[in-house]
């Protein structure tokens, strides 16, 4: 899919995703070694975006499995279309049981869910398993089979093996500790907060029309906030939101009043707002 790490960076950038060297390297390796990619990091640093961007530059179909507590095999893998099966049975009243039975467990009555869809497809595919940490432990067992051999077993149909391996991205906010076995099957990538320079570029790319000096101040203030050990440090998504807000407010430079009024855009807890206000010498937040 990619020829070199630089190729990854360049093509991701074209699709509007500015990747740090770590991100580009890992994506390149995941593609080259054919291994799933486990991406961890705080919310809002672009984990899901990465999968979308890779799908876009590779011209691949993006299949997304959103995990949640209680997501199970029938939501992730496949289920039988019971309604259609019943219809089929009642439509053919005069045939023998054997005929009916073999019939209703065929492809026609199978409802493929994301994992099966990704494995069966023969076009290039990016499979995004989003927020893996939200799913139950049992789900991980299922993923192990799928991710190590890229195959799925449907008892009535046999084993379905991928003809073309999908590019798999798993994301996690580390809400729960993923099992060691799952981690071992994946390349591991931690996306943290970006370097100042990279974040400036991201802001300017995502918020067109923002003044360069303002973008720089925004990134510097956000950097200072991150160093403060807050309950929820602002992430890239918040930086962009803030830049947009400032633009909408018509601010051309940062001053005390503007920062004070818009601090709520980047900080999500009242005690964080107070703490940041004190450290930034804002009077009366």
């Amino acid at each position: 899919m990619f020829t070199s790490v630089d190729d990854v960076s360049a093509r991701l950038a074209e699709s509007g995703y500015l990747a740090s060297p770590a991100v580009a390297t890992t994506v390149f390796l995941a593609d080259r070694l054919g291994k799933p990619l486990l991406v961890e990091g705080p919310a809002g640093v672009g984990k899901t975006e990465l999968a979308k961007a890779v799908a876009e530059v590779a011209g691949a179909r993006l299949i997304r499995l959103q995990c949640y507590e209680g997501v199970d095999e029938s939501r992730a893998l496949y289920e039988w279309n019971h309604a259609k099966q019943l219809l089929r049975i009642s439509a053919g009243r005069d045939e023998t049981w054997d005929e009916t039975r073999t019939d209703i467990f065929s492809e026609e009555f199978l409802l493929p869910r994301p994992l099966l869809t990704a494995i069966r497809g023969d076009e290039p595919t990016v499979l995004l398993i989003d927020e893996t940490d939200k799913a139950d432990v049992e789900m991980e067992g299922l993923l192990l089979e799928v991710l190590s051999d890229f195959q799925v077993t449907v008892p009535e149909l046999g084993t379905i093996t991928a003809t073309r391996r999908p590019f798999v991205v798993l994301t996690s906010n580390a809400g729960r500790e993923l099992s060691e076995a799952l981690r071992r099957r994946c390349l591991f990538l931690h996306i943290g907060f970006p370097e100042e320079e990279l974040e400036r570029q991201i802001v300017r790319l995502r918020v067109p029309g923002i003044d360069a000096a303002l973008a720089e101040s925004v990134v510097r203030v956000v950097g200072a906030l991150r160093a403060m050990d807050l309950r929820k440090a602002p992430s890239v998504a918040e930086t962009i939101d803030w830049a947009r807000t400032l633009l909408a407010l018509g601010a051309t430079t940062l001053d005390e009043r503007v920062v004070r009024d818009s601090l709520g855009v980047i900080l999500k807890h009242q005690d964080d707002v107070l703490k940041a206000g004190a450290k930034l010498d804002l009077d009366a937040v």
């Binding site: 790490v5 390796l29 995941a30 070694l33 961890e40 981690r183 591991f188 990538l189 200072a224 001053d255």
Partner: protein, 450 residues
């Protein structure tokens, strides 16, 4: 792949393993494939590639970086050019700090260690010390100069100006880290990489000794609380689920089999009472062990919903209940220890810890807190400052409670030395060595009742 590269990689993996990173052979093979795909031309790419294939979690990264710098160094030997003198170095350092130029800073770190860090008499030097380099160079004193320099160029006006000092401080911090890394590399060249990797690499946060952790390591340690608590909670929930299925109750199974002629058709499972454990913590918060008890209390607080009830008591030589200060969400970890010391009455006539008096007072005032469903954790080094250990009080607690565990942050060989009453207490209750977060996690996971 050449044999040399393979050897290097295997030695590197071995060094990681020696520091507690679990790397399997499969990952090593992946790493080799990654090096083949990436090549050695770009060191940054190689570093990221190896990290992606060898690591499984974020907290190992710092350790990884240090070991990587030893095995895949930026350069070999001394820098080419003559080292400049101290003032010249300081001038160039100030300029680089003002510009925030990382490449120049890295070069300056190499020069500084070469020029200022060498000690010993043999040609070149016997060793290189980052401490000595930084003592002579004193980068922290450049702060005002760099700030004025940036301001004088008018590059910075307005709101962001008030962030300037902190930013420069962070750059200086980064430079100090570069110097430490360079000194380590030079020493490793002389004395063998494997040995330095074994000895001079700072452990991951969960293996930092509670008693010797500096201020910054304690902060890092606190950040490991949440992940550790989450891991424990997952494990405890799984254990509880398994346990609720229960074991076979042989008596009732046989009793039931009478109706089927003695054939046990239906196994009867023993039922468990779904009681959540109650927990009482007795924490020594005197200066010498405060890092340890703070950390443990934070961990328990993060595990709060796993227990029916948690009560925490802090003592130095008087004991006082601090459960209220531990309320979920209320505590900011940084100030916890300080708040406990400020708000609770912990000391009497003197300020050193006295286990005998504290335990006695606990039995007297809060004895009712301990019942047959309670697990008691005592946290402290059992150093009584030569006063009466009052084993009777501890015996009484252990008779009332379901379990009592004593977690001691001192290494086991030191128990009983000096004023330590550890052996006396250890005869009454189970005492465990608990020196770092890793051990604490294992212990808490093992000791807590289902």
């Amino acid at each position: 792949m050449s044999a040399d590269v393979a050897d290097r990689l295997v030695a590197f993996v071995a060094a990681l393993r020696a520091h507690g990173v679990r790397v399997g052979t499969g990952e090593t093979v992946d790493a080799a494939e990654a090096t083949a795909a990436l090549g050695f031309a770009d060191r940054g790419l190689l570093r990221e590639g190896l990290a992606a294939t060898l690591l499984h979690s974020t907290d190992q990264r710092r350790l990884f970086d240090t070991v990587f710098d030893l095995y895949f160094p930026r350069g070999v030997g001394a820098p080419q050019d003559e080292p400049g003198d101290r003032d010249d170095l300081r001038d160039r350092l100030a300029a680089a700090l003002a510009a925030g130029d990382e490449a120049v800073l890295a070069r300056l770190a190499i020069e500084a260690v070469d020029g200022l860090g060498g000690y010993g008499s043999s040609p070149g030097a016997e060793g290189w010390s980052s401490y000595q380099t930084l003592e002579r160079l004193r980068p922290q004193t450049l702060l005002a100069r760099v700030r004025d320099d940036i301001r004088s160029r008018g590059g910075d006006v307005g709101f962001a100006d008030r962030l300037l000092e902190d930013e420069i401080r962070r750059r200086i911090e980064a430079f100090r880290a570069l110097v430490a890394q360079e000194a380590r590399r030079r020493v490793a060249e002389r004395r063998g990489r494997d040995e330095i990797a074994r000895r001079a690499v700072a452990p991951t946060a969960d293996r930092v000794d509670f008693l010797y952790a500096g201020k910054d390591r304690l902060a890092e340690l606190r950040r490991t609380v949440q992940p550790l608590a989450r891991r424990l909670a997952t494990r405890m929930a799984a254990r509880r689920r398994r346990a609720s299925r229960g074991t076979i109750d042989l008596r009732r199974t046989l009793r039931g089999s009478l109706s089927t002629g003695g054939v046990p058709m239906r196994p009867v499972l023993r039922r468990r009472r779904p009681a959540r454990p109650e927990l009482v913590l007795l924490c020594d918060v005197s200066g010498s062990v405060s890092g340890f008890s703070d950390f443990t209390m934070l961990l328990v607080q993060a595990l709060h919903d796993q227990f029916g009830k948690v009560r925490a008591f802090a003592f130095v030589n008087r004991i006082d209940e601090v459960t209220g200060l531990l309320q979920h969400g209320a505590a900011d970890p940084e100030g916890l220890g300080a708040r406990i010391r400020a708000e609770a009455r912990l000391t009497g006539y003197h300020g050193s810890s006295d286990y005998g008096v504290a335990l006695g007072e606990f039995v007297e005032r809060y004895g009712a807190a301990v019942g047959p469903r309670t697990t008691v954790f005592v946290l402290g080094d059992a150093r009584t400052n030569m006063s009466d250990p009052n084993t009777a009080a501890l015996r009484q607690i252990s008779e009332q409670a379901r379990h009592v565990h004593w977690l001691n942050p001192e290494p086991r060989p030191q128990w009983g030395t000096g004023d330590s009453a550890a052996p006396e207490y250890a005869e009454l209750v189970a005492m465990h060595e608990c020196r770092n977060a890793h051990q604490l996690g294992v212990l808490v996971g093992r000791l807590l009742p289902v």
